[in-house]
């Protein structure tokens, strides 16, 4: 695809007229600049976060009291489904891809991503995927209502005709993610500055490299799964239909073969961000760099052999249940190593509490809490009680909201001054943190209780004994949702102006990204830096 001559041509083109970005909309539409595309990804992600969040508000408003008040159950199911799809594929994954676009070339001393035109494509197909998905909500019959996990045959025989739109949208999201992942791998493998050896790579780069490999391994499997749903529904195949020799449980095996690595796709880059921020504000080198790399790799490898822990109730031979239980429990070892390393990094450091550090500390505590409930869920006999209850909802929101989202917030506050050249409004940002921290726990902590008490997930109405906690959860939800508007204000104000910052924004920060000016110039490292 890109031969040597083509590359030279590219460089020539750069020198001809692309030193400065074009003006207006065309700049963004045609851009191949990693910083522009990174910004596009991040803005898109924030938009999706707000849309998906609005759907969560609908869900929590309906669940505020027992009885049906606002929406009817079919629409409620569409909300839970699309909320999940948007948050996973529209908010968390594009946010990490955006951070990778911005930061990976800066961290490894590369002038840009390796495949800039593909980079442009991988972003610009994404909005169309979500326009298709969101548009299906307004069509007769509504959008997908079978959960983001789209279990067959609810998504095949028993879904409406708009399922084709869902399938098409997921295909586009998948292609976008795969292109993004390929780009990250090629960039990291081929474009490291001379002297940037593997074991000198910043940890964010390491975690993203591993994430990218997970992405190209499992996104095609998701594509396969949705293709089978499509052909089962419209072309009379019977992959998941017992009448034709298929098996609906096989859908779950294929889905979770994608789905479990997908979970780590959403958390490994978070580990990278936290491992970058904690040393900065502890003014001490990261403890156990090598073991962090090995732990990340082993989490990634283990993620391929634990998928069936999502399916203990489907009826599995006891040997299978034992295997998946042990394998799942094993994941807590490398994850534990990471938490211990972060604590050891802080230990006898010189700690200060800037906003990115606050989010990182909250991440460590609350992600670990989500890890504990994950360990409990791994215990097969207990899982029979936890499975498909609010306990699971609490678990994955702790790892995805106070885990992934908090790490993204931490990363955004950490690098925002580098991107804009301005310091954000610290007071507002601290308000954002403290309001989020309190409300997120009011929102998700009581979910453990209602789950243990027996409330199933994905229900629009519930028995009276769950009423008090659901009211509290909803109040937490509204407060958390509103708090995020503060984040939008902080980002917007920071982009507009603020106190100018030096190249090295944080005194304890290390890494190549702090050697370029703030804001980062449009082109950086056109001659590779020297690595000591």
């Amino acid at each position: 695809m890109s031969s040597v001559t083509e590359q030279q041509h590219d460089q020539a083109a750069h020198h001809d007229g692309h030193h400065h970005p074009a003006k207006g909309f065309k700049r963004w539409l045609y851009t191949t600049n990693h910083k522009d595309i990174g910004s596009l990804y991040l803005i898109f992600s924030l938009t999706m976060f707000l849309i998906g969040g609005a759907m969560a508000m609908v869900i929590r408003a309906e669940l505020f009291q027992p009885g049906l008040q606002l929406v009817e159950p079919h629409f409620f199911n569409q909300m839970t489904t699309v909320h999940g799809l948007i948050m996973v594929f529209g908010a968390v994954m594009p946010a990490f891809t955006g951070l990778a676009n911005w930061m990976v070339p800066l961290m490894i001393g590369a002038p840009d991503m390796a495949l800039p035109r593909m980079n442009n494509w991988s972003f610009w197909i994404l909005p169309f995927a979500f326009i298709i998905l969101l548009a299906s909500l307004f069509m007769p019959g509504g959008g997908p209502a079978f959960g983001w996990t789209f279990y067959a045959p609810l998504s095949t025989t028993y879904s409406n005709d708009n399922t084709a739109l869902f399938v098409f949208a997921v295909h586009i999201m998948g292609i976008s993610s795969i292109m993004g992942a390929i780009n990250v791998i090629v960039t990291i493998v081929n474009l490291r500055a001379p002297g940037m050896t593997w074991m000198k790579l910043p940890l964010f780069v390491w975690t993203w490299l591993i994430t990218a490999f997970l992405l190209i391994a499992v996104m095609p499997v998701l594509a396969g799964a949705v293709t089978m749903v499509l052909t089962d529904k419209y072309f009379a195949t019977s992959f998941f239909d017992a009448a034709g020799g298929g098996d609906p449980v096989m859908f779950q095996h294929i889905f979770w073969f994608f789905g479990h690595p997908e979970v780590y796709i959403m958390i490994l880059p978070a580990f990278g961000i936290i491992s970058t921020i904690v040393p900065t504000f502890s003014r001490k080198k990261l403890f156990g760099y090598a073991s962090m790399v090995y732990a990340t790799s082993s989490i990634a490898l283990l993620s391929f052999i634990v998928w069936a822990h999502h399916m203990f109730t489907t009826g599995m031979p006891v040997a299978g249940e034992l295997f998946f239980m042990y394998a799942t429990m094993l994941i807590s070892v490398p994850t534990g190593v990471k938490v211990f390393n972060w604590v050891a990094t802080m230990w006898r450091g010189s700690i200060s509490f800037e906003v990115p550090m606050l989010f990182s500390i909250a991440f460590i505590v609350l992600f670990t809490l989500g890890g504990f409930s994950g360990l409990m869920l791994a215990i097969t006999p207990a899982d029979f009680q936890y499975h498909d209850t609010y306990f699971v909802v609490a678990h994955f929101h702790y790892v995805l909201v106070t885990g992934a989202i908090f790490s993204i917030m931490a990363g955004a506050y950490y690098w925002l001054p580098k991107w804009t050249g301005n310091m954000f409004n610290i007071t507002l940002a601290k308000w954002h943190f403290w309001l989020s921290l309190v409300s997120v726990n009011v929102l998700f902590f009581p979910m453990h209780f209602v789950g243990l008490a027996g409330m199933p997930r994905r229900i629009p109405d519930y028995a009276l004994q769950f009423a008090d906690f659901n009211a509290i959860i909803s109040i937490g939800g509204f407060a958390f949702g509103l708090s995020q508007l503060l984040f939008v204000v902080v980002v917007f104000k920071c982009a507009r102006g603020g106190d100018k910052v030096p190249a090295k924004v944080w005194d304890g920060a290390e890494g190549l990204e702090w050697e370029v000016a703030s804001p980062a110039p449009y082109h950086t490292f056109e001659t590779p830096p020297e690595i000591k």
Binding site: S3, I182, I216, P220, G244
Partner: protein, 175 residues
């Protein structure tokens, strides 16, 4: 530095993993055969039994379920039989098309507990083939089976379930 070789390799991985998703379909069947996952028994004619364990008795019960909208009534003459492992046994099923149209029936067997699935061998079964039934037609189907002598010791009873589907429309669609 040229990116092409690495790019090619990564694209090959992607295409390979997409193909792998489909390869999971036959792999899953192999996996089911080996582990008895989901009680999915073999749909092929088994070999004859060679020995009989006179000392053990197993309760085998039968249940059928016509999937919603499948206009069939299928029922075994006996609710359950007691068999010795290795000994051949014949069970008759009465099947009826309760609609006023000609239909094609497909019975899908499932064995519980799942770990017993691979020890239930069928020599003759109406589930091996699609069964055309004329409107209102009533027929007797024969099931000839034996329980393997290797059946795990702790299994004292097992259930053979047939889910009956109306596949007339799929047949029309594929012709």
């Amino acid at each position: 530095m040229s990116h092409a070789p690495l790019l090619k390799r990564l694209v090959v991985i992607c295409v390979g993993m997409f193909a792998f998703a489909f390869a999971l379909v036959p792999l899953y069947d192999v996996f089911c055969d080996v582990t008895g996952l989901n009680g999915k028994p073999s749909l092929e004619q088994a070999k004859q039994s060679t020995s009989v364990n006179e000392a053990r008795e197993i309760d085998v019960s039968f249940t059928t379920h016509a999937q919603s909208g499948a206009p069939f009534e299928v029922q075994s003459h006996e609710y359950s039989v007691v068999v010795k492992p290795g000994a051949m046994r014949e069970v008759l099923f009465r099947a009826k098309n309760t609609s006023n149209e000609d239909k094609v029936m497909q019975a899908v067997p499932s064995v519980s507990p799942g770990k017993a699935a691979k020890y239930l061998h069928k020599i003759a079964c109406f589930c091996f083939d699609q069964q055309p039934l004329k409107a209102g037609e009533e027929v007797e189907f024969k099931l000839l089976f034996y329980v393997d002598t290797q059946l795990p010791e702790d299994v004292e009873e097992l259930t053979l379930s047939y889910t009956v589907f109306d596949i007339s429309r799929q047949i029309v669609a594929s012709n």
